[in-house]
């Protein structure tokens, strides 16, 4: 990997984040905050602003919300005066016991596994960038792209709750209500999505360039 590499930033250029046009960065680069793309007028930034600090803040917030999301009830079923509450995990266990393995797996992956995996991957990427790690940048970029693409599927459980709440609404006979965990869980999904968006994968490659200088 000793090929000569030239990044847009080294060449004094910024790729517009909206229309991909290469524009000259007005020197000095730090004050390029007000520079606009001549073609589309979007603000030009060589790297996402305060990427590491923002991503860390969002990752930590998501970690905190992840706890009540798993402990508190997701749905409360009231049938003939009897109330029964279900958490995310007890919903998964219900499907396993009733023999619906594939559905149990889908919910487990979307609601438990993916949010945790996202938090671990983002933390790992942040730490590796902060320690200026140069190992396997290609694989880390791929890890980031997977994290970004897969995160939205965690909303599955929120939609299931929405549909159940609409369908099982038979007055005294049976009703399903959304529990407080639904709110915390939705917050986890939204915050981890924002965290993935605020991370800049170009930081992974910047450590490599420092080495060549």
């Amino acid at each position: 990997m000793n090929k000569e590499v030239l990044t847009a930033r080294k060449a004094g250029l910024i790729a517009c984040s909206v229309c991909h046009l290469l524009c000259p960065a007005t020197p000095p680069e730090r004050t390029a905050k007000s520079a606009k793309c001549p073609r589309c007028g979007a603000t030009l930034r060589s790297r996402k602003p305060d990427s590491i600090a923002r991503t860390w803040a969002l990752v930590m917030a998501a970690c905190i919300f992840y706890i009540p999301a798993n402990i508190l009830p997701m749905t409360v079923v009231t049938s003939l005066g009897q109330a029964q509450s279900d958490t995310i995990l007890s919903g998964v266990i219900y499907f396993v016991q009733s023999g619906s393995w594939p559905i149990a797996l889908v919910i487990f992956i979307a609601s438990v596994f993916v949010p945790l995996l996202k938090l671990f991957i983002l933390s790992y990427l942040l730490i590796s960038v902060q320690r200026r790690s140069r190992s396997r940048p290609k694989d880390r970029t791929r890890l980031y792209l997977i994290t970004e693409a897969v995160g939205r599927w965690s909303m599955l459980d929120i939609f299931v709750v929405t549909i159940l709440v609409a369908l099982v609404n038979l007055g005294a006979l049976a009703t399903i209500q959304a529990g407080p965990a639904a709110l915390f869980f939705a917050a986890v999904v939204v915050i981890t999505m924002l965290a993935a968006m605020s991370f800049d994968p170009r930081l992974i490659w910047d450590a490599k360039e420092k080495m060549h200088e």
Binding site: V5, A15, I103, L145, L156, I163, L167, L173, W205
Partner: protein, 202 residues
């Protein structure tokens, strides 16, 4: 279009020269492997037609009955909006707003914004604020969750199968068709082609 085209990778910032990409193929970053650009068949008719079909399907899945709950003579019919309203009634307004954004507002705006850009561009006209609309489209994209909702329908059907009979209505089929039509439309849109038309001779 020039034979060689200078571009910076969006994921690793590497500057590279890209030869003109033949129709139907894509250019990939030589350092990190991210797709840089794709040359799709040059036609605006196909995406515009698909987008109009998607508008009709969007109206259909909102207007027609969605799922019906049947048990021992009891019948409870729902629409797509019913769940959102029920969440709001239970004091979960924030959740209701989030679901409405992901399911109705973003998909609706996405359709309008895409048509706003593509119809004039296909007629070789300039579109005021086109890049701003592109920016909005890009920001909205991850929050467009109709296909995830569809998986949610499937899970709910399995969950309630033992409790009652759930009858899918027209909205379920329209929603399914909407997902495929919209996917086909976005697969047929080439944003680079749109931007080049903006710069090209008017």
């Amino acid at each position: 279009m020039s034979a060689m085209h200078l571009m910076a990778c969006h994921d690793c910032d590497l500057l590279q020269k890209i030869p003109s990409v033949p129709e139907g193929s894509a250019a990939i970053c030589r350092r990190c492997g991210t797709m840089l650009m794709q040359n799709k068949p040059k036609s605006f008719q196909r995406p515009v037609a698909l987008l109009f079909a998607a508008v009709i399907l969007f109206i259909m899945f909102n207007a027609f009955p969605f799922l019906t709950f049947k048990k021992e003579g009891l019948e409870h019919q729902t629409h797509v909006i019913t769940g959102i309203r029920a969440l709001a009634d239970q004091g979960m307004e924030a959740l209701a707003v989030l679901v409405a954004i992901n399911l109705l507002i973003v998909p609706g705006l996405h359709l309008l914004a895409s048509l706003y850009v593509l119809v004039p561009v296909s007629l070789n006209r300039k579109v005021p604020g086109m890049f701003r609309v592109f920016w909005y489209l890009r920001i909205m994209q991850p929050w467009h969750m109709v296909e995830i909702f569809m998986l949610g329908v499937l899970v709910s059907l399995v969950k309630l199968a033992k409790m009652a009979q759930i009858v899918p209505g027209v909205a379920v089929y329209s929603l399914t068709a909407f997902i495929f039509v919209l996917a086909a439309a976005s697969a047929a849109i080439d944003p680079h082609e749109v931007w080049e038309r903006w710069e090209g001779p008017q």
